[in-house]
């Protein structure tokens, strides 16, 4: 596992291990409306990540004591399939990490969905990681935003998420699993592109002020590409028919 003793060389000849430059995203592909039973759904491929997101609701909140008479409640479940990855990440069932990611994802969407439009109801968001390669919480949020739009739930914005990181003195974008394990910092961010408001900011490791600014700029710059892929995925539903 990650230790400084067997740390691989993460940057060779100015390129990262998978041949990307510092500010380059992994190839991203999204398909919307893939599940018939769900109100909205999306399948995402981001590098080696494979994510399925499904949205149900708004429907009557069950059990009833969870309902809020003034607004809708969001229930989010992030889960990794038991076969999704190497090592301990791929444990099945809710664990400490999955509960944490479910919570932060829920809080991201609480800020963009018009909750007071649906009092007393619940909106279910399911994020299933089928294959993981680092940055799955960002991938999950990006997929869930498309699924929510596909479900026709009123939202202020189509959120995207991506992570920035630091390898030595280089700030890099969209860290993958091996970079995540051995890098010096990892910072997933979720952004509302309309106003560039930050909805999620977590950090593992350390960045100085200048590096943090550089990482944020990289994320916002990459957001234009991600937003376009999200939009095209939604548009494709209606072009194919």
């Amino acid at each position: 596992m990650a230790s400084s003793l067997n740390k691989p060389e993460l940057i060779v000849n100015g390129k990262r291990l998978d041949g990307r430059s510092f500010g380059e995203l992994r190839p991203l592909k999204i398909e919307a409306n893939v599940l018939k039973n769900a109100q909205g759904s999306a399948y995402l491929e981001w590098g080696n990540n494979r994510v399925l997101a499904a949205v149900y609701g708004p429907k009557e909140a069950m059990p009833k004591h969870t309902a809020d008479p003034t607004k809708a409640v969001i229930k989010c479940r992030y889960s990794m399939a038991p076969f999704s990855g190497l090592g301990e990440h791929g444990r099945s069932g809710p664990n400490r990490r999955a509960i944490e990611i479910s919570k932060v994802t829920k809080e991201v969407f609480e800020n963009v969905i018009f909750l007071n439009e649906f009092p007393g109801s619940e909106i279910d968001i399911f994020i299933e990681i089928l294959q993981s390669d680092g940055g799955t919480r960002a991938a999950g949020i990006t997929a869930a935003a498309v699924a929510l739009a596909n479900a026709g739930i009123k939202m202020k914005d189509l959120v995207y998420a991506v992570s920035a990181g630091r390898i030595g003195e280089h700030v890099v974008l969209d860290v993958n699993m091996i970079e995540d394990n051995y890098s010096d910092a990892d910072m997933p961010m979720a952004i509302s592109p309309k106003s560039n408001e930050i909805l999620l900011l977590q950090m593992d490791g350390g960045l100085d002020k200048k590096q943090l600014k550089e990482g944020m700029d990289m994320v916002i710059d990459a957001g234009k590409t991600i937003s376009k892929v999200q939009r095209d995925a939604l548009k494709a539903i209606y072009e194919s028919r």
Partner: protein, 207 residues
């Protein structure tokens, strides 16, 4: 001209302010995925849910008769209906699983619709379509639904909550036509295409 929009996308200044438009920093943004119609300056939502509005006619299923004269009605996953009849006069009485047509008289807390003029729909078939497609299925001054009804000989009653009741005539063909409208609601020239489809089917059967 129709332009595809997603939540958070900026709309032209002259866009109509309605429930699908949010104003932020003096600019109008869309709340929902849909098309922006540049002529009508309005958003046509592609997905979404129905929220009870006074005057909407709806079709629902009686869930359980509660206290004498009060009935819970299932309208959608989100919205509930309630029929209150006086227990002293011999008003209409319903049993569980009856399908009824009614009009929304009042809305409480955005999801409880008080229904009036309930009427039991006997026999027939019900289908569910996306509520945002209902205006297209009805058509401009009811042209679409009248056309389907005329060419298939079915009686069709449409509930704004997405439930459609059909009876008589060629119900299977009418359902096929309605499902086609639901699927292709965003395309142009739909009324003509549906007419062609129904006439071709009728031609096969008669000839």
């Amino acid at each position: 001209m129709r332009q595809f929009i997603t939540p958070g996308e900026e709309l032209p200044k002259e866009a109509k302010r309605n429930e699908y438009v949010a104003v932020y920093n003096g600019k109008a943004y869309s709340n929902i995925m849909g098309f922006y119609d540049t002529e009508r300056k309005d958003i046509v939502p592609l997905e979404g849910m129905w929220k009870p509005r006074i005057g909407d006619s709806v079709i629902g299923v009686v869930e359980r008769p509660t206290r004498a004269g009060i009935y819970n009605v299932m309208l959608t996953e989100f919205a509930q209906g309630l029929i209150i009849t006086s227990k002293f006069d011999s008003g209409p009485s319903f049993a569980a699983n009856d399908i009824i047509e009614a009009t929304v008289a009042d809305v409480e807390r955005k999801r409880l619709a008080i229904l009036e003029r309930p009427r039991k729909l006997a026999l027939g078939q019900t289908i569910y379509v996306k509520p945002v497609r209902i205006p297209r299925i009805i058509g401009k001054s009811e042209t679409m639904v009248n056309q389907i009804s005329r060419l298939t000989g079915s009686r069709i009653i449409i509930g704004r909550n997405g439930i459609i009741w059909l009876n008589g005539g060629d119900v299977a063909l009418a359902i096929e036509a309605i499902k086609t409208v639901e699927r292709e609601a965003h395309t142009s020239g739909l009324t003509e295409r549906i007419k062609g489809m129904l006439e071709a089917e009728a031609g096969i059967k008669n000839g």
